[in-house]
């Protein structure tokens, strides 16, 4: 009797279990499928305009024809300058937080500041970039001002990724070095950084991807809707892929339907390829542990 009762209860439980599991699976799928469908549409409608010329020609006829060369190169400029500014600061901050920072109010304040740098709306970063770099420091609307704005905004990405990979290096290695009379810095340089450099690189790739896709922070600080020439230096304005997509899809009349799809497709491919690289890199590293 009791045996029998337990069996039906078991069956019932198993059925509920299956139901719950399927329900959650469906929710996951519903989250992902629309995006995959959307990507499919983007590819289907954007692919026809893609060609070698699309990438290497400048926009013509008021941006209704031609390619996206100036915008592509502009994005490379902006991303490069932003990286030069943010990677050293971000890595230094992560080294401080992981290797030096005592557990005190200042460290808590730094962590809170990092969370907030990541959480402040991008348009507020844009206002900051305008007020600080364009106006106060007098860089004008330029690659420098746009890149510094993005550098501040994406700093948390580098800090968090670097700190994580530094902390993945076991503490025992550090103590072993200290006990041999190595200074903190010697320990970091000879043992901690060499074993976390790939993790840091993963974070930098993520930052590149994020920097390349941002629009609002560069709209008023250095990216221009249209320029017929390439920037010659960091004090020039430039076109950028993200802003170009905004402009051709909202500001320019008589754009052929497929053109913005092509721009979107190139932009999203850049971003996703970089993210995929970063993920692949991480998986590769996880499988290749050195201890």
């Amino acid at each position: 009797m009791s045996m029998f009762a337990r069996t039906t209860l078991d069956q019932q439980n198993r059925r509920v279990e299956w139901l719950v599991k399927t329900l959650f699976l469906m929710m996951t799928v519903l989250l992902i499928v629309p995006v995959v469908l959307i990507m499919g549409i983007l590819i289907q409608r954007g692919a026809p305009v893609l060609s070698w010329g699309f990438l290497t020609e400048v926009p013509t006829n008021g941006m209704t024809a031609g390619g996206i060369f100036t915008a592509l190169i502009g994005t490379v400029w902006i991303v490069t300058v932003a990286l030069i500014a943010s990677v050293p600061i971000g890595v230094a901050a992560a080294v401080y937080l992981s290797e030096y920072a005592p557990d005190n109010w200042l460290t808590r304040a730094i962590n809170l500041a990092i969370i907030n740098l990541a959480g402040v709306p991008s348009i507020v970063h844009a206002l900051f970039g305008l007020g600080a770099f364009v106006v106060f420091f007098g860089f004008g609307r330029s690659i420098l001002a746009a890149s510094l704005t993005l550098a501040v905004m994406t700093l948390p990405i580098v800090i968090v990724a670097t700190r994580e990979s530094l902390q993945a290096v076991p503490h025992a290695f550090r103590e072993a070095c200290w006990n041999m009379g190595a200074t903190r810095w010697q320990t970091i340089r000879k043992v901690v950084l060499p074993n976390s450099i790939s993790g840091i690189l993963t974070g930098v790739i993520l930052e590149v991807s994020r920097t390349a896709g941002e629009t609002a922070p560069i709209m008023f600080t250095g990216a221009a809707a249209f320029l017929p020439f390439l920037p010659q230096g960091v004090l020039d304005q430039t076109m950028a892929m993200s802003l170009h997509l905004y402009v051709v899809s909202t500001q320019v009349p008589d754009v052929p339907d497929a053109l913005p799809f092509g721009v979107a497709l190139v932009l999203i491919s850049m971003v996703l390829v970089m993210n995929a690289t970063s993920i692949a890199f991480r998986v590769y590293l996880r499988n290749k542990r050195k201890w």
């Binding site: 072993a176 006990n179 041999m180 009379g181």
Partner: protein
């Protein structure tokens, strides 16, 4: 031996982690060229004692050290270059730590920090230290292999070779045999007996018999306090004063 100045003079040493007392007012001397054993149950303050000798509180903001430690008459809390102090003091941990670099680099690490650059000289140090740590024969053909991927016993001998490479005057061993097989343990014990002629050794051990085999004098730590210090044989032949020491040595608790 009797009138030698102590290698280490510890007076009223206390170690705290936050509010927690790990070591409470210890005073003892370690003489040159002796093996000084420290026994006691877990959490009796043995490891904290070793950490204080190396001024590890510098890198652990939670750790507070009170009292004085004289290293060859020098108050270590007044040492301006703590790294020079640490170079004179080699440490071997309970769990072996092979650094994630080649075996060769593991052993050449400290000499390089000390400014030795010549390859021949480094080669010489690496071979000598690995030989002394009874590891040379096993690894001489693969010095490029990662030190962190050796077996536990090998890593522990590598750690000892590394501690020797900095030419310490004082070698601290913290329960080195925990992660090591008995054969390796015996080999390392033989190495320690030989080393005694050149350096001073403080041996923290959870194995009472290991202290008996190796130590000249032994201290018994219990609940953050030093119960007593005695010639090792006295501890085991029952001539000690304190009943708790006798109970521990005879295995009535631990």
């Amino acid at each position: 031996m009797v009138d030698a100045t102590p290698k280490l003079s510890v007076r009223e040493l206390s170690v705290l982690y936050g509010d927690k007392v790990a070591l409470d007012g210890i005073s003892l001397d370690v003489l040159p060229n002796e093996i000084f054993g420290i026994i006691g149950p877990a959490n009796s303050g043995k490891t904290s004692f070793l950490r204080a000798l190396n001024r590890m509180e510098e890198f652990d903001t939670n750790m507070t050290v009170r009292g004085t430690i004289l290293f060859e008459g020098q108050d270590i809390s007044a040492v301006r270059n703590v790294y020079a102090l640490r170079r004179k003091v080699g440490v071997v941990f309970p769990l072996p730590v092979g650094l994630p670099m080649s075996i060769y680099e593991n052993v050449a690490f400290a000499p390089k920090l000390a400014g030795i650059k010549k390859k021949a000289q480094l080669d010489d140090i690496v071979e000598r230290c690995l030989t002394r740590a009874a590891l040379w024969d096993e690894v001489k053909d693969r010095l490029d292999a990662l030190g962190s991927l050796l077996s536990g016993g090998q890593q522990q001998r590598l750690t000892i070779a590394r501690a020797l490479s900095q030419e310490p005057e004082l070698l601290l061993l913290d329960e080195f045999s925990i992660a090591v097989d008995p054969v390796t343990t015996m080999r390392i014990e033989d190495v320690l007996k030989e080393l005694k002629d050149e350096i001073t050794i403080v041996l923290v051990t959870n194995l009472v018999q290991q202290a008996r085999r190796l130590a000249d004098r032994t201290a018994f730590f219990l609940e953050s306090e030093l119960v007593e210090v005695a010639e090792t044989e006295e501890l085991f032949t029952g001539t000690v004063k304190d009943q708790r020491t006798r109970d521990y040595v005879e295995g009535r608790f631990g």
